[in-house]
Amino acid sequence: MKSKLLLPHACRMYGLIIFIPFLVLGIAYANSGFSFSFLDFKLPEYTNDSFHGKGNLTDEITALALIVSLLMIGFSEEKVEDEQISRLRLDSLQWSVYFNYLVLALAIIFIHGLNFLSAMVYNMFTLLVFFIIRFRWAIYRENRLITNLASHEE
């Protein structure tokens, strides 16, 4: 039973390799507005943004790279991809959707003004981050149980 809509196993590592530098770039952008000047461009007319005047692609590229790399980390096949792993993945996905919206609800209640905008920006990525953490933890837990069992049997 091949599960569909998953990337090859190797994509997880490539995802991680893309994720780390762009995470650093993203943090630098969010904290100090760091951007590469060669990525400046003239804003198209339709954006109607008289406040900025010119645009810079650093944040666009960073956001896209973070999303793509997180998807690659989260949705690559495991070494042995079987139905039990599929279930762990689905469970983790459901759990992370609940958890992400709980966090968002708390942000709606407690964070106001421009800070809320930042919270929404982080929220674009947290669903995938929570999912990956929960999924890896579930797999780690299974592996630990099996090693405990093995040491009992010997």
Binding site: E78, D82, E142
Partner: protein, 66 residues
Amino acid sequence: MKNNVKPERAMKNMTQASLAELIGVSRQTINTIESGRYVPSAVLALKISRVFDKPVNELFELEETD
């Protein structure tokens, strides 16, 4: 659902890993099935029954709560 996978496996002198390899799943999956934490699909149950050469309902049994 109760199951007799572990005793059957012991009778055949198989490890979790070798059973896992025969039916194309991970060792973790066999472990979760044996400990009752995971209920396998019909396909997987049939594969296990083929390895042990026994009907599925001799390997898996419904419980009151199912």
